[in-house]
């Protein structure tokens, strides 16, 4: 009950307060305020307002992508420069080619009915490769003697393998034989 009386009293007091009104604004100030909305310029809220942040974001993205690309390009060019600066020696090149050829020959040998000639050629090729890599080789050693069966199989094998087995120079033979055999292996089902 007491609370109700208090609320009523507040209502009466609030009513008395609300009957008071703020004094009127001076005419000069009123005119100034009206002039603000009549002639004042607003800040643009079109796309131009968001142009600067979006441009900054786009520029950052472009910079990031450019740095990534330049970094990759620079690292690859550095690698190429190092390779060009330190070209492989003839021994390293021959050894690398011999190893590749050995792998190719092994694959070739897996498809043969009689694998003995292929393995003989592989072994010889590896020996030649290691020999070339370790020391200069003035002349190739004579080929090992072949029995009749091996000779018959060799007749049916590729001419390049036969040339290698018979003691042909390793580097030209490899250079000529590699693309031929790679294509042949790829064309096999």
């Amino acid at each position: 009950m007491k609370k109700t009386n208090s609320t009523n009293n507040f209502s009466d007091l609030e009513q008395r307060l609300r009957e008071l009104k703020p004094k009127a604004t001076p005419e000069e100030l009123t005119q100034k305020l009206l002039d603000i909305v009549a002639t004042g310029q607003r800040k643009r809220r079109s796309w131009q307002q968001y142009w600067i942040p979006w441009t900054a974001v786009a520029a950052l993205v472009v910079c990031f992508i450019s740095l990534q690309w330049v970094g990759k390009h620079q690292s690859s060019s550095n690698t190429e420069a190092v390779v060009a600066k330190n070209p492989p020696t003839i021994q390293e090149f021959v050894k690398e080619q011999a190893n590749e050829w050995a792998e190719t020959t092994k694959l070739l040998a897996d498809g043969c009915l009689e694998q003995a000639p292929a393995f003989v050629a592989l072994k010889k090729l590896r020996e030649e490769g290691h020999y070339l890599a370790s020391a200069p080789r003035p002349t190739l050693p004579p080929p090992p003697p072949l029995n009749e069966h091996q000779k018959k199989l060799l007749e049916n094998t590729d001419v390049f393998v036969a040339a290698l087995v018979s003691g042909a120079p390793a580097l030209p033979a490899i250079a000529l034989a590699t693309p031929v055999y790679v294509q042949r292996i790829k064309s096999e089902p």
Partner: protein, 170 residues
């Protein structure tokens, strides 16, 4: 700017300028400061408003918040010693209508009682009674909780009631 929008804004200013100026007077120390603060607030509200034709007018509470912000900045930049010399609620600028049934002496006592309130209580009373803001809107302007605002308002009424006891039939 189209005329219809300009008219809307001008009507909005004419409707609310008296209560805005009252609050500006309460928050500043002089009439000149109050008018400057009000002008700056209207300019900022106008410039930041949406220029599209269909946009609604800003809420009056945003103007009170702008006035409060600028008045605080103005007070920080001035001499604090003289700040309290002229505690500028200045309810002399609040006058009753001619049709008011109350006598001039009673009005004067009421205004003096309101003027004697602490600034925090007077601010809430001004915004709620003459600014016609809700407690939530006042809380947004003053950056206080709504319970704080409601408590201040009640405290202001209690103080006024004690001050005016015997003067009116309260």
């Amino acid at each position: 700017m189209r005329n219809s929008e300009k008219n809307r804004w001008q009507e909005w200013i004419l409707e609310n300028q008296d209560r805005w100026l009252l609050y500006a007077r309460q928050q500043t120390r002089s009439e000149a400061d109050a008018q400057d603060v009000l002008q700056e607030s209207i300019v900022s509200i106008w410039q930041e408003s949406d220029p599209s034709e269909s946009a609604e007018l800003p809420h009056p509470g945003s103007v009170y918040a702008a006035i409060r912000f600028r008045a605080l900045n103005l007070a920080r930049g001035s001499d604090r010693r003289t700040r309290r010399e002229q505690d500028y609620m200045d309810l002399n600028y609040v006058g009753g209508p001619e049709s008011s049934p109350y006598a001039a002496e009673e009005q004067k006592l009421l205004l003096q009682a309101v003027q004697s309130l602490p600034s925090t209580l007077g601010e809430v009373l001004t915004l709620h009674v003459w600014g016609e803001l809700t407690f939530q809107e006042i809380a947004d302007v003053c950056k206080c909780s709504i319970n704080t605002i409601a408590g201040r308002y009640r405290q202001a009424l209690i103080r006024l009631q004690k001050e005016l006891k015997g003067t009116f039939s309260l």
